[in-house]
């Protein structure tokens, strides 16, 4: 089994799907000769040709719209947003066209929109956003956010095979920092299923994306103080694995909801409501959120450090909750 980075795992997953299914093709800006801004599609033009690795003009709405049209024609397009921040320029096509076609007139729209999101690399307000909640609110879309290399490969393959429009959030901080053994053979990680990354008994910590690693680090540190955190990685944000969330909450009786996204309208708010509705009797303390503040993502290192949740912030919240 080869050690792959998160980025290589995504690349390998796409590559295998391209080999497996001739209806899979790629489109986006600078993805061909250049191989993509982060090199996720490196070598694919040479391997699969220009009909399957399509360089486009800088036109996110046209990229998404073209993916929709091709999907309606029976293809499985995988569209790259150079940065997920730029998905706003294709927003209308995603939420009004792609998400509603099947509901309105029954056709399948099997397509993936993928790209790098998230902060931690000093990208500033337009290269660092966690804008997944723009899409989690839209019925008809699926939203995926892997945290590990294994999941990144398994989830991109499942997303490409899915018959619905899938928005696939790759955390750019993890691209080259996360590495693990990933099987070379075919496998998928099913959409809609969360994973318990660390078993615990005192506090259920529910998170996703790069924050999974921050949470695990915090859990390791808190274990030394006798506080046992259970870390749940959602993996798919829409539809999310409500059963896994509730069973972890019921097991631990206390819960921290953690994300890098800003607070108002973030996934933590939704999960808090579901937990309050369905597991209120099982709670022994208040539902706690650890999130970014409601500001744009700042550029300067001290500002960005202040903005992002970290081990310290999680540990502080966990200690308070444990003592409640």
């Amino acid at each position: 089994m080869a050690q792959l980075t998160y980025l290589e795992a995504i690349r390998q997953g796409i590559w295998e799907e391209m080999e497996r299914d001739p209806s899979v093709f790629l489109l986006g800006e600078d993805i061909g000769v250049y191989g993509g801004a982060f090199k996720v599609t490196a070598g694919m033009l040479e391997q699969f040709g220009e009909d399957r690795v399509v360089d486009t003009p800088i036109s996110e709405s046209a990229i998404v719209g073209a993916a929709i049209g091709a999907a309606l024609m029976g293809m499985r397009p995988v569209a790259e947003m150079q940065f997920m921040d730029f998905i706003s320029c294709g927003f209308d096509q995603i939420v009004n066209m792609a998400a509603k076609i099947h509901y309105r007139w029954g056709a399948a729209v099997p397509m993936v929109i993928r790209g790098p999101a998230g902060a931690g690399v000093h990208g500033g307000p337009f290269h660092s956003q966690s804008n997944e909640m723009w899409f989690v609110h839209v019925p008809g879309l699926k939203v995926v956010a892997p945290s590990t290399a294994y999941d990144a490969k398994g989830l991109i393959k499942a997303s490409i095979r899915d018959n619905n429009p899938v928005i696939f959030y790759e955390h750019k901080y993890l691209y080259r920092r996360t590495k693990e053994d990933v099987p070379a053979q075919d496998f998928v990680v099913p959409l809609g299923k969360a994973a318990v990354r660390r078993e615990g008994s005192d506090i259920a910590l529910i998170t996703y994306g790069a924050m999974v690693w921050t949470a695990l680090e915090a859990a390791e540190s808190l274990a030394k103080e006798g506080i046992s955190l259970e870390v749940v990685d959602l993996r798919t944000l829409l539809p999310y694995d409500e059963q896994c969330v509730l069973s972890s909450v019921r097991k631990c009786s206390k819960v921290i909801l953690l994300h890098e996204d800003t607070r108002i309208g973030g996934l933590a708010g939704e999960l808090a409501a579901v937990i309050a509705e369905k597991a209120f009797e099982d709670l022994d303390g208040p539902i706690v959120r650890v999130t970014a503040p409601d500001t744009p993502v700042p550029f300067s290192p001290p500002l960005e450090e202040f903005f992002l949740p970290n081990v310290q912030k999680i540990a502080d919240a966990a200690r308070q909750l444990a003592a409640y």
Binding site: S59, S61, G65, A70, D92, Q93, R104
Partner: protein, 345 residues
Amino acid sequence: MAQAPSTKSHTKAPVPGAQTLERMLYYLKLTREAEARIEQVLYRQGKIVGGVYVGRGQEAIGVGSAIQLFDGDVVLPSHRDFSSFLIRGFSLREIFCNWMARSNGPCHGRDNTLHIGDMSRGVIPIISHLGDTCPVACGVGMVLKWRKRGNVALVHFGEGTSSRGDVHEAMNMAAVMKLPIIFICNNNSYAYSTPTEKQYAVKDLAVRGAAYGMPGVKVDGNDVLAVYSTVEKALRRARSGDGPSFIECKTFRMTGHSAHDAAEYVPRELFAKWKKKDPILRLEKLLLAKKVLNKKQVDDVDADVKKQVDDAVAFAEASPFPEGADTLEGVYCDDGCWWKNTPVE
């Protein structure tokens, strides 16, 4: 290299054969009768809820273009291209069920008006964010180009929609990739209440073709034969791999924007002027003069379309509404799409 654009009007229309001419008249009249029933009867009776948008006066554009499409071609009509749906094989019964929100309409009550699509018939409908179908046409065009069967995508939009970024992104992408797409602008002179002089600052939108590197042509949109021949040239170009074209069809919306709009912002004399250019009367007169049809045959067409609309209305009225809880079905296409999935092969 891009062709030199032409903004000249195509006046020398080749006359199609008698059979095609008869079909044109039939679809023009069927469209007019069906839309009149929707706008002037069913809506006023409260039997159609929601917005009602019709294409009275501009029927020749849909007919003159869609009538020459082949199997495997894909049309993305606008909300005033009723005839495109009929020509591509939708029955009046289906269409009226959709307008009247019945469960056996193609949208099962989830969407209204002409938001009706079916890939097996090569129709992708608009959404209310007009212009969004232009980028979608690019994806269709890409696949048609790869399949090398000489098929085309034909996408309609209005002159108001032509101000939207999606139209520009799509025309640029189509030209760069030499996609087999015909962009047809149904320029009916008013976007809701906005006249053309407040919509764009060029005399003819046709010049925009050149800006993207594709032919841009204007045509009398009330002359079905002119539309036919202009579209035919563009289709030939697209089918032979030479890329997209832009056609501006000059016409006039002989109604308000929708059934509730009395169009008081439109000078009355414009209606009188354009009434004289009515596309149906023009074709009917021509067919009588050329003895393609006699008066009795024209009367028979009138009686036939009326009968068909009567039947469709009766069928729709007898059809059930969907159940409220049906709303929960089919958000996702999991475990097989829940009602159909028929991509054009």
